[in-house]
Symmetry: C2
Subunit: 264 residues, 2 copies
DNA sequence: CGAAATTTTGATCACGTTCAACTTCAGTGG
DNA sequence: CCACTGAAGTTGAACGTGATCAAAATTTCG
């Protein structure tokens, strides 16, 4: 079997999470084997099931292999705010597992396939192979970046700009894991979910969606969305996808073991 | 000199950043020395100076020793959204330095004292001492957690709830670095800054502030804020401070392979 | 002291919420 | 095959929160 083919098959087999890590850092087969040895058997979760519950301790990292979920918080007044949408390649339990008790819930929006790993095991891996500690930092930084973008969205953009931005972001992220065509994708969430993510009411969201259609920026039938005038959409949304740098590689090990460093 | 006293003096000398790291993980003197050797000389920055500019590459980590800054984005329509307020112990360049180009600006809201370190040096440190890679993950996760809380704030809370939450959060964070009394603190930001952080207009923010005063929840003269009825304030804000777990310690090194790593 | 930044107050208005009803569609069992 | 169900999407009318613009009062600082 040609090498290239085997690589692709491997990545399919390894799943979207490792594909994503490879965008930050090179992983040797030994790295991957070590990581895989931590994973419990695949977990299947049905639609509408809660994966994490606000207020309870949670100390796992779950890598989404397939399906969609949402991280959210329920307020006393019954309103729900969705903080992020989780797609294949994303991590459940980031940042919730770093807290004494999770401060958000995570719910499956569709049937899902997950790979589960205990946080402690992963941390142990990070001590063994420091590159995974860095990878974890990068993942967390990515998360923070997306949240920051969402703050901008909700804080200072009009409802229609938010919606445009949301559509572009989801499409962009689906593309990165090979789940969307260039101008055309299957929206993985209902309007209710979108409105809770964007801090809008369902009726208003619906109207804005209709307006985007009416203005000829998108076409939509059912949940299939097509970007008709993507340029205009990006302009309206101030869309500017953030790209993470790669993680610098380890410096060549110093010949004498670090003597120069300790001035104390 | 008694040990305890020396410890405290050390931490004062080391600055609030190391104090903060110690809340996540134990640091041996050798760890600290190694970290300190990366730091360039202290940097003083005047009020209103930009530390990071949106759109430019930035590859440093700056630890705030003193002063206050804001991470923000300016939109085309002239509005500004502040994503986070940086206090002593916080890190400039997280997550901006992980991107090809920073997607936010950071501006000093007061005169500041910073300790600067290049990201590449810090990453090299993480390879040498994996605990720092984990610490970096924890810092980034903390950042993400605060952002998430801000999303809830802006998305689903009323303006007065937001304001209450903001006051409680800032007070809580100032307390952790020993810059606030129990019910009483110096607000380090102007109303304009607050309004940009909370996605409100200045007049409206001002009115809500007046309302909190009128309702007997806080007292304020100039920028000194006193919590009169903190219970009510916390209830109104749904305030629930998130506490990060400590980072698990390294497992006992396996007998044969890891000897090369342990310098101390 | 004078200039600039900040805080306070007032009047008007629009964006987005709320609540309610209705439509559409997929799935399910009689 | 049709009736029933429940979830999701669509539409309309009335209301209210918070924005906007303007100007005054106050504080801070060079």
């Amino acid at each position: 079997m040609p090498n290239v083919v085997r690589k692709v098959l491997n990545d399919n087999w390894n799943g979207p999470f490792i594909t994503r890590l490879r965008r930050y850092i090179d992983l040797a087969p030994a790295d991957i084997a070590d990581l895989r040895s931590l994973l419990e058997s695949d977990l299947n979760v049905g639609k509408r099931r809660d994966l994490v519950v606000d207020g309870y301790e949670y100390r796992k990292l779950c890598f989404v292999r397939d399906g969609v979920a949402a991280r959210y918080k329920l307020l006393r007044n019954g309103k729900r705010q969705i903080v992020s949408i989780l797609l294949p390649g994303d991590v459940v339990g980031l940042p919730g597992s770093f807290l004494d008790q999770a401060n958000f819930s995570v719910i499956a929006l569709s049937d899902m396939k997950l790979e589960v790993c205990s946080l402690d095991d992963f941390v142990a891996l990070c001590y063994r192979r420091p590159k995974f500690g860095l990878a974890l930092s990068w993942l967390a930084a990515h998360e923070a970046t997306m949240y920051a973008e969402r703050i901008i969205d909700i804080g200072r953009r009009t409802s229609i700009e938010r919606l445009a931005h949301f559509l572009l972001e989801i499409h962009c992220r689906l593309r990165l894991v090979g789940r969307a065509a260039e101008n055309d994708f299957e929206l993985p969430v209902s309007q209710e979910v979108m409105s809770d993510a964007l801090g809008l009411s369902v009726p208003h969201l619906n109207r804005m969606l209709a307006k985007l259609r009416g203005d000829g920026m998108i076409a939509a039938e059912g949940r299939r969305v097509t970007f008709v005038d993507r340029k205009a959409l990006q302009l309206m949304a101030h869309f500017q996808p953030a790209t993470l740098t790669r993680i610098p590689v380890a410096p060549a090990p110093a010949a004498p073991p670090l003597r120069a460093l300790a001035p104390s």
